[in-house]
C-alpha cells in the first residue's frame, strides 16, 4: 500500500492533521506521523519505507532523500522550498512540490500590520506618518503567479481600504 509520512518538527494544527488523515485514508493510502522529533536521525529512519513525504520547515537533505528507498514525492506544505535538496531529489527522480498560495493571505496580512507598525514609529507614542499618498510596491520577481496575485489582491484591498477595516471578513 502507498504510504505517506508526515514529518514535522513543529506539528500541524490538530484539525489539519485530521484533515490530512481523512484525505490520505479515503484515497486508500496509509499514513504515518513523525511529530515533534528532535533528532534528524528519526526522520532518516521513518522515511525508509514511504512513498511520499509531507514536511513543513523540516529539512529534506540529501541523506533523507537517499534514505527514502521508495520515495517518489516530497511536498513542502508552504511556499519556500529551500529546505529541500532539489538536486538530490532530481537525481533520484523524486518530484518535489510546494503548496503555493496557501499562506499568501497570512503573509499579506502580516505585511500590512508591519507597514502600519513602522509608519507609526513602532507604536511608541511619537508622531508617525500616514500611508495615504505613499507608494507601496510588492516585489515578487520569480514568485508563482498564483501566489503573487492572491497576495496582491489581499494586501492591496486592505491598503486601499485601510480606513474601512471593519469590512474585512
Amino acid at each position: 500500500m502507498t504510504k505517506i509520512l508526515v514529518a514535522t518538527e513543529k506539528p500541524f494544527a490538530k484539525v489539519a492533521i485530521e484533515g490530512i488523515k481523512k484525505i490520505i485514508t479515503e484515497a486508500g493510502y496509509e499514513i504515518a506521523l513523525l511529530e515533534n522529533y528532535t533528532d534528524p536521525k528519526e526522520l532518516l529512519q521513518s522515511v525508509v519505507d514511504v512513498d511520499a513525504l509531507i514536511i513543513r520547515s523540516d529539512k529534506a537533505t540529501k541523506e533523507v532523500i537517499e534514505a527514502g528507498k521508495n520515495l517518489k514525492l516530497i511536498v513542502r506544505a508552504g511556499a519556500g522550498y529551500d529546505n529541500i535538496d532539489l538536486a538530490a531529489a532530481t537525481a533520484k527522480g523524486i518530484v518535489a512540490m510546494n503548496t503555493p498560495g496557501q499562506n499568501s493571505n497570512a503573509v499579506a496580512e502580516l505585511t500590512f500590520g508591519m507597514l502600519v507598525f513602522m509608519a507609526r514609529g513602532n507604536f511608541k507614542g511619537g508622531s508617525g506618518t500616514e500611508l495615504k499618498g505613499k507608494r507601496l510596491v510588492f516585489m515578487p520577481m520569480e514568485m508563482w503567479v498564483r501566489t503573487l496575485l492572491v497576495l496582491l489582491r489581499a494586501s492591496t484591498w486592505m491598503c486601499m481600504h485601510s480606513i474601512h477595516l471593519y469590512r474585512v471578513k
Binding site: 506618518t129 507608494r135 510596491v137
Partner: protein, 149 residues
C-alpha cells in the same frame, strides 16, 4: 496609497488588471516607492540580491518589509542604515547582524520568530493542500506544483 508591482514573468497588463500599477524594471520600482514588500523566493538569482545599490535608490522615508528568506544582502543592509538616517526595515527573518542593527531602534524591528505563515488558517490550508496534491500525483500523475522540473 498607490500600489506598484514588477514581475518579469507577469505581463504589465495582467498586473494592472488588479488595480496595481506596473513598472518596467526593478530599478524603477526602487526609485519610485516609499514602501517595498519583499516576497521573493530564495533562488540562485535572488539570494543577496536586495543590496545597497537598490536600497539607495528609494525615496526619502524608505521602508522595507521583508518576509522572504535569504534575499536581503545583510552586510549591505547595515551600510544602508548607516548611510540613510531615514531608512527603516522590518522583517520576520532575523538577520545575522540583528544585534548590530538594534542600535537603530526606531528604524529596525524583527519578530522573534518567523511569523509570515503562522496562522491557523495557513497551517490548515497548506497541510490539506499537501495531502490533496499527493493524492492527485498518485492517482493522476498530476505534477502541477513541481519545483524541480
Amino acid at each position: 496609497m498607490d500600489v506598484y508591482a514588477f514581475d518579469p514573468f507577469v505581463p504589465r497588463e495582467v498586473i494592472e488588471k488588479d488595480g496595481i500599477k506596473g513598472v518596467d524594471s526593478v530599478e524603477e520600482l526602487y526609485s519610485t516607492c516609499h514602501y517595498i514588500s519583499l516576497n521573493i523566493p530564495a533562488t540562485e538569482k535572488t539570494k543577496n540580491s536586495i543590496n545597497l545599490e537598490l536600497l539607495s535608490k528609494m525615496p526619502t522615508g524608505a521602508t522595507v518589509i521583508n518576509t522572504a528568506r535569504k534575499v536581503i544582502n545583510e552586510v549591505e543592509l547595515k551600510q544602508v542604515f548607516v548611510a540613510r538616517p531615514d531608512f527603516k526595515y522590518i522583517s520576520d527573518i532575523m538577520p545575522d547582524c540583528h544585534q548590530d542593527l538594534l542600535q537603530f531602534e526606531n528604524r529596525y524591528y524583527c519578530t522573534p520568530k518567523k511569523q509570515g505563515a503562522e496562522t491557523a488558517e495557513a497551517n490548515i490550508n497548506a497541510g490539506l493542500a499537501a495531502a490533496n496534491q499527493i493524492v492527485k500525483f498518485f492517482k493522476n500523475g498530476d505534477k502541477t506544483f513541481q519545483v524541480n522540473k
